[in-house]
Amino acid sequence: MFMLVPGAEVPHFCSQCHDYPCVESCPVEALSVSKETEAVLVDKEKCTACGDCIDACPGRIPHMHPTENYALICDLCDGEPQCVKECSAGKWNALWVADKSESHSYKLYAKRPDEVTRDLVINLYGEKGKEMI
């Protein structure tokens, strides 16, 4: 969750791109795709924290564990994402679980927080938003 401009909060979640560029990029095959959830899975033992997956992701969404040596990528909590549960219990309903469809380009949503923020602040604040970029 990024807040580069107050009010323009940007969730920065894995989009489970159809072509999984992160998985493709891993030089040690530490990344795989779960058959059940279609989320990306990280094998902590195999991961060398090289960062290739971060560079491969169009939104630079994975990030390194601050102290352990492996990449953190959303695994959808094995199918029952906690974030969705809480957002729904709190009645903000900004997040929900969807069935993955073949006809949507989820990869479009894999964007860097700066890029999302730039568009969002204009939508939210209008002309005033330009001063905030």
Partner: protein, 625 residues
């Protein structure tokens, strides 16, 4: 110790030196954190000569403290404290935001800032280390610009230091605007754009130290707790209770701008000359439909999200951005100034936010100036060409800018209503205190007592008069002492440190002892809290308030009282003619003194102080008072 990061950062700005310090478990067990711990630290270091310490001088200490429950109890907050330039006492002034969590994740429970930097600086805190840096490129800048620059710089630097990490989430910042930089007594310490630790006037303390901002980024986890399963369960329980309550979610406190006036006759109108209005243009439906552009906004872990973001999209005030405005700011830079439209209210509050002026203290002094102008006591010439007629938004905006910059009449008004009343009164050879709606040097919150319809009288008429935080409407004297609104409970939340709004339901308050135990392992419990631990902190704050100084000392016989205006009859509305019953008030005051262990003079009793291990305080009080 569970719940705590384990160390505090002490910063000596004069010597530009920093060191880590720790407090023993016995101290933390007694004073917890936030307000309680601030009180202890301030008393230990400055208590023996409290009355001589200049709040805006280098000897004052600025405290930015978290507590063991910060980051765990839903709704993280930071407690800002020091010797208050308003009351000359100690105020635990809280502000929400991500900063307290970043600080704890960086390994620090708080900052203790002493001295004064030779030039404007800011402090950059990252995992277990901090740096003091030159702030000349941001000194003088308003809120939005300051936050933008520091967010960008901070993020860029984090990425440079550790490029393999991935995208760095922005660090959190607390800072002051021009009003703080210029050492006004009416300025806040700000988080994000619009969140202010206002009560106490610590913006001026921070500015007087040449400290523009503190930035924090912590990559560590929150501290270890005693029972993580139990904490997790309790977070869920508290959250569910908050999710079930609609009031604050739908409207924030923004329905009160109409209701507290129209239904309760307790809202400041034209410097409290009235407390009733029926201006439907100020209804919450108008705020919701005309200016709210984001419906739910909150801070780390908050289940209530009482805030909204407001911005007029068209018209002369388009582009002004603030949050809500919340009730206090609807009242103080709205009805209090004769302003009754959402767009103008947003415009004024956005201006005050950007200048770093506290909405309550700033709005109160603007209203005071407005009344003096109304009565011809201050002329257009006295006001440097400004004519603050009621409802004249631009005039009040001009005046606000002058206050923040300490220009012209602004230099006097920057001292806050009480001191301005004395100063202008001296110049004009008049007693202007009848027009100052203040309590011990601090503007009172926007909840009147004359109609006896608002919460501020439910526990007695001594709500402000006997509060150790003077005019703070969020920390009132209340009987019984165990009630949710009682100052003794607020001390708990302000020391915790977490947001009171997430524990307003009795059901939630009942869980707080379990919560403390699950985090810290300590079983505090109501017995101990209301009889011992809360009182110890209360008496220390009371002692500091009574010692006061250097410019004013409060005499309980005179100053444990409501402002003169609260004894004038309400001029209009359904409670027209009603006012505060003095005899009734004095009875409540006596009852309160008795209940908290103060003598008939309002001084904490010797045996009470000694019982709580505050012998030194007792000696100090007897020697001076």
């Amino acid at each position: 110790m569970r719940g705590y990061a384990g160390k505090f950062l002490e910063v000596d700005l004069t010597k530009e030196k920093m060191k880590d310090i720790e407090f023993g478990e016995d101290i933390l067990r007694q004073y917890i954190g936030g307000r309680g711990l601030a009180t202890k630290i301030l008393w230990d270091r400055l208590g023996d000569h409290w009355e001589k310490v200049d709040p805006l001088g280098p000897e004052n200490i600025l405290l930015l403290l978290t507590g063991p429950l910060t980051g765990f109890f839903p709704g993280a907050k930071l407690c800002v404290s020091g010797k208050s330039p308003q009351s000359n006492g100690i105020v635990g002034s809280t502000v929400a935001g991500e900063f307290p969590v970043e600080l704890k994740c960086a390994g620090y429970d708080g900052l203790i800032v002493t001295g004064r930097a030779p030039n404007p600086v800011y402090i950059f805190v990252t995992d277990h280390k901090a740096e003091i840096r030159d702030a000349s490129h941001i000194w003088g800048k308003g809120a939005k610009e300051t936050l933008k620059i520091l967010t960008e710089e901070g993020r860029r630097e984090l990425a440079e230091r550790n490029p393999e990490y991935g995208e760095w989430r922005e660090p959190a910042v607390v800072y002051v605007g021009p009003a703080g930089e210029n050492g006004t007594r009416v300025s806040a310490v700000t988080a994000k754009w619009t969140h202010g630790a206002g009560y106490g006037g610590y913006g001026g303390v921070m500015g007087s130290k040449n400290l523009k901002a503190v930035i924090a980024k912590g990559t560590g986890p929150l501290p270890e707790v005693e029972d993580i399963e139990k904490v997790s369960t309790l977070i869920d329980e508290i959250s569910r209770i908050c999710y079930g309550s609609d009031d604050f979610r739908r409207w924030g406190t923004g329905a009160a701008g109409y209701d507290v006036g129209s239904r309760l006759s307790s809202e400041p109108v034209r410097n409290w000359q009235d407390e009733w209005h029926d201006e439907k243009s100020f209804g919450v439906d108008k705020f919701e439909e005309k200016v709210w552009i984001k419906r739910y906004w909150g801070d780390f872990g908050c289940p209530t999200t009482c805030l909204k973001i407001a911005m007029p999209r068209a018209g002369p005030f388009k582009g002004a951005i603030t949050d809500n405005p919340d009730y206090e700011n609807q009242a103080y830079v709205g009805t209090n100034l004769g302003v009754f439209t959402p767009e103008e209210n947003v415009y004024l509050m956005a201006l005050l936010d950007d200048l770093g002026l506290c909405g309550i203290q700033g709005g109160n002094v603007l209203g005071f100036a407005g009344e003096l102008y109304q009565r011809g006591i201050l002329t257009k010439e006295d006001l440097n060409g400004i004519e603050p007629k009621w409802g004249d938004t631009e005039a009040f905006a001009s005046l606000a800018r002058m206050v923040a910059r300490r220009e012209g009449i602004g230099d006097v008004l920057a001292e806050g209503t009480y001191r301005a009343a004395l100063k202008i009164g001296e110049l004009k050879n008049m007693d202007l205190l009848p027009y100052a709606v203040v309590e011990k040097g601090m503007a009172i919150g926007a909840h009147g007592i004359r109609s006896e319809k608002d919460y501020t009288t439910e526990g007695g008429l001594m709500s402000y008069a006997c509060s150790v935080q003077a005019g703070d409407h969020t920390s009132i004297a209340y009987l019984p002492l165990t009630h949710g609104n009682s100052e003794l409970n607020i001390i708990l939340h302000d020391s915790g440190v977490y947001c009171w709004f997430n524990i307003m339901e009795d059901e939630a308050l009942a869980l707080i002892w379990d919560f403390f135990e699950a985090v810290t392992g300590w079983r505090i419990g109501p017995e101990e809290w209301y009889n011992t631990t809360a009182r110890r902190i209360l008496h220390l704050q009371r002692a500091a308030l009574l010692l006061g100084g250097p410019d004013h000392r409060w005499d309980p016989k005179v100053h444990d009282d409501n402002p003169p205006r609260f004894y004038e009859p309400l001029p209009s509305g359904p409670y027209s003619g009603k006012t505060t019953d003095r005899a009734k008030f004095e009875k409540y005051r006596s009852e309160y003194y008795e209940a908290v262990g103060w003598d008939e003079q309002g001084i904490p009793k010797s045996e009470e102080l000694r019982r709580l291990g505050l012998d030194g305080v007792d000696r100090k009080l007897r020697s001076i008072i």
